[in-house]
């Protein structure tokens, strides 16, 4: 930014002037290479690609107008690493290091498309050039993710050029705090962190609360395993979160903000810190912002690796330097939160929606979605679907469209069994409810919840009792131990589930689980405990027959629970190669060479080695 000669802005006019200057300095013919640095692509080595592109740009000389930039998650992680060439939006997928030179020579310099790296639409068999022609993107509607894939998250000038901080300027130019809150109320925006509490109402209560100073916090703890929406926003467009917080702070009357980021996300911390520093340098964060009387400072804290710290009161305890134990919420945090002062906490995605609502109006936002759930929601679509990745869809879309049209259906031609939403305390939705719409109330009715946006798709080979056990185990480990129902109740539930998956379940165990679940819901201190039985209750509701098969027949229908199924060799498929025989640690396999082998069930320890090693998939689970 310094190379553009931006200094601290002391007025709105200066910000606008800079935007114009930035836009003018970009010639229409200049090329730009967008390398995705979302978590999926980074895991597949995209930083290295970025470096190679940078070297190519450098080597191309000054008469070629081209820049390489790292951008936030494009969403189509399954097909990463993703590289997009602008102008034209040519979308290359599964790019590897040797491809860089070809892309640079052909597309950047030559203006020709490298067919080989394009996405092939499985429905038509045709190669597709642009992202918006790919089925995965067609159904999506991007608001919170609109800057992802477009902006360089490390450069504030990119954000400004694309209209960043105009919402802040609009608020300061001037809207009254009251008007800002009314606009957010009008939008119908509800918290994206899980609870779905109306954001405008929360802001109003905090504004009206007595006491000062007031605090504004961004919840970037994203504790739900299987979810990475917030990570991709923090890393892909950190300024949208900062701008949202600035607007919220202005409306509420706060001068101090915190962003609490999950410990496992070091890159989020780095990008947010960098973004705050850049915004400070330009006078967009700090004292007398844009020459107004409004001041707001932001600090970034790292979590310590505790799931419960995503809960609002636990998060505040953690920010105060204490163990993250929640407290009962008969006094709301908007009245007495961080350090006993009025505190407004919102989720990352909630904050990222705010600048759009201010810019385009609450009415526009309220025009998207269902009656009670407005706008869009970002989901991380993962598990056994063909297209895993990050998707943003209008509220009200059916689960079926998300899984079939965007997700491309179930992987490896298997059958769909359930989709788990709402994080560890969410629930599993079976096939018969796939036409349910994505909406806070509707998902709750089905025994799951919106949660923060994890959407984990499971196929027929997933044992639902084990899924319930996994979440119960997770929550039992993450329970802070402060209240007895959660600490002891979950341990009991886990004990029963363990016994069921070991084939030692007893008649009446299902009822015992239900009873414990009711107890937790009614008596636990915080939402972690109150909802902790959800995975168990929802799987009992929809997959009771699987529980029964484990308990009554000693059989695991999905063939996942060791001991509740057998291995057998299919004599048709076995050609007697002897690999299983050699590898069996229990010497339980016999057979002559070239003659189908047999497993001696008495000796078999069910270790599964033969099943893993057989090159002809002749070992079956029965």
């Amino acid at each position: 930014m310094t190379e553009l000669g931006i200094k601290r802005f002391s007025s709105l006019v200066e910000l606008e002037g800079m935007r114009e200057k930035l836009l003018n300095s970009r010639s229409a013919s200049a090329k730009s290479i967008h390398v995705c640095t979302g978590p999926g692509c980074v895991a597949k080595g995209s930083f290295k690609l970025y470096e190679i592109f940078c070297a190519a740009v450098e080597g191309a000389g000054s008469d070629v107008q081209v820049q390489a930039k790292c951008v936030g998650c494009h969403g189509f992680c399954e097909r990463g690493p993703i590289v997009v060439i602008e102008p034209g939006g040519i979308f290359y997928q599964r790019v590897e290091e040797p491809d860089v030179a070809e892309i640079f020579r052909e597309t950047v310099l030559g203006g020709r498309v490298v067919e080989r790296l394009l996405y092939e639409d499985p429905n038509t068999g045709k190669k597709v050039e642009k992202a918006n022609e790919i089925p995965f993107y067609k159904v999506q509607e991007r608001i919170a993710l609109s800057g992802n894939g477009l902006l360089d998250p490390t450069e504030i000038s990119d954000y400004i050029a694309e209209g960043g901080y105009t919402a802040l300027a609009k608020v300061l130019s001037p809207m009254t705090p009251e008007e800002v809150i009314s606009e957010v109320e009008l939008s119908g925006l509800r918290g994206r962190g899980g609870g779905g509490f109306p954001t405008g109402r929360k802001w109003r209560s905090c504004r009206q609360a007595e006491g000062s100073p007031k605090y504004v916090i961004c919840n970037g703890d994203e504790g739900d395993p299987g979810a990475f929406m917030d990570r991709c926003i923090m890393e892909g467009n950190p300024h949208s979160v900062i701008e949202g917080m600035l607007i919220g702070a202005y409306a509420i009357g706060s001068e101090h903000g915190y962003i609490y980021v999950r410990n496992e996300y070091p890159l989020s911390v780095e990008r947010l810190k960098n973004a705050v520093a850049q915004a400070k340098e330009l006078g967009l964060v700090g004292e007398t912002i844009l020459g107004s009387s409004f001041s707001f400072d932001i600090r970034i804290n790292r979590g310590g690796g505790a799931f419960v710290c995503g809960e609002s009161t636990a998060l505040m305890a953690s920010l105060e330097g204490r163990p993250g134990e929640p407290r009962a919420k008969y006094v709301h945090t908007v009245e007495s939160g961080f350090r006993g002062k009025p505190t407004n906490l919102n989720n990352v995605e909630t904050w990222a929606n705010i600048p759009h609502i201010i810019n385009r109006g609450g009415k526009w936002f309220a025009g998207i979605g269902t009656e009670k759930s407005k706008g869009t929601k970002v989901f991380s679509l993962v598990g056994n679907v063909v297209n895993t990745g990050l998707v943003e869809v209008p509220m009200g879309i059916t689960m079926r469209r998300i899984i079939d049209e965007i997700g491309g259906g179930i992987r490896d031609g298997k059958r769909f069994k359930a989709v788990q939403t709402g994080g560890p305390s969410g629930g599993c939705i079976p096939a018969e409810h796939l036409d349910a719409r994505v909406d806070f109330e509707e998902l709750t009715k089905l025994g799951s919840m919106m949660g923060s946006g994890g959407m984990i798709v499971m196929d027929e080979e997933t044992c639902m009792v084990r899924v319930a056990k996994y979440f119960t185990d997770f929550l039992q480990k993450e329970s802070c131990g402060k209240c007895t129902p959660c600490r002891e109740g979950l341990a009991q539930m886990l004990y029963i589930l363990d016994r069921i998956t070991d084939g030692e379940g007893q008649v009446g165990d299902i009822e015992r689980l239900e009873e414990l679940g009711g107890l937790l819901e009614g008596t636990a201190l915080c939402a972690l405990g109150k909802t902790a039985a959800n995975p168990v209750i929802s799987t009992i509701r929809y997959f009771r027959d699987e529980y029964d098969a484990h308990i009554l027949d000693g059989r695991c229908p999905a063939k996942e629970c060791r001991g509740l199924f057998r291995y057998e060799i299919d004599p048709e498929a076995c050609n007697g190669c002897g690999i299983c025989l050699k590898n069996c640690p229990a010497d339980a396999i016999t057979g002559e060479k070239k003659v189908p082998h047999v497993i001696n069930q008495e000796k078999c320890t069910l270790c599964g080695t033969c099943w893993e090693k057989c090159p002809f998939t002749a070992v079956l689970k029965v």
């Binding site: 299987g226 496992e264 799931f307 163990p323 990745g389 996994y470 997770f474």
Partner: protein, 164 residues
């Protein structure tokens, strides 16, 4: 040690001595020392006028704090839902079996510390493992072991270089 108290003073100053910033201070301290030695915690407590029990409570509540020295490498395996469904439990078992190290522990030769975490936010390419911050996606028990055996070799060559 005088150096210790110097480091601690610097860290305390970084946060203006605000005891609300205890967790970031302890994170910084751990980044310096690799773990939280009891002496240093005691010293930090004295600076902040906080009892050791308070620091200990924090250190044991949060899973990212370590009270024992770590290994030469840091291996983190994701046990989040998606990675779990795609088989990370068997990867963990394989590592435990081959290297005699449980999640949360360090191998006896201090070659690596083994952590299990609940999702690294890269679920789209599960199962995920990192070694010293470098991501490996779509790992299997066999490929995980191969990566870790690679560490053994590097470690040995590094040792040899040191000797010569």
């Amino acid at each position: 040690m005088p150096e210790d108290s110097e480091i601690i003073e610097q860290i305390v100053d970084r946060y203006d001595g605000d005891d609300g910033m205890l967790i970031p201070m302890m994170q910084d301290l751990q980044a310096e020392s690799g773990y939280l030695p009891a002496d240093q915690l005691r010293c930090l407590g004295r600076h902040l006028r906080l009892p050791l029990s308070r620091l200990y409570a924090v250190a044991t509540f949060y899973s990212s704090f370590r009270l024992a020295p770590k290994g030469a490498h840091e291996v983190t395996l994701c046990m989040g839902t998606v990675c779990y469904l795609k088989g990370s439990a068997s990867i963990s078992e394989a590592i435990t079996r081959e290297f005699q190290v449980e999640p949360g522990g360090t191998t006896r030769d201090r070659l690596f510390s083994f952590q299990a975490v609940n999702c690294m936010g890269a679920c789209a390419v599960a199962p995920v493992m990192t070694v010293d911050g470098k991501y490996y996606n779509g790992v299997s028990p066999a490929s995980a072991l191969e990566i870790l055996y690679g560490l053994t070799k590097e470690h040995v060559t590094a040792d040899k270089e040191e000797q010569t």
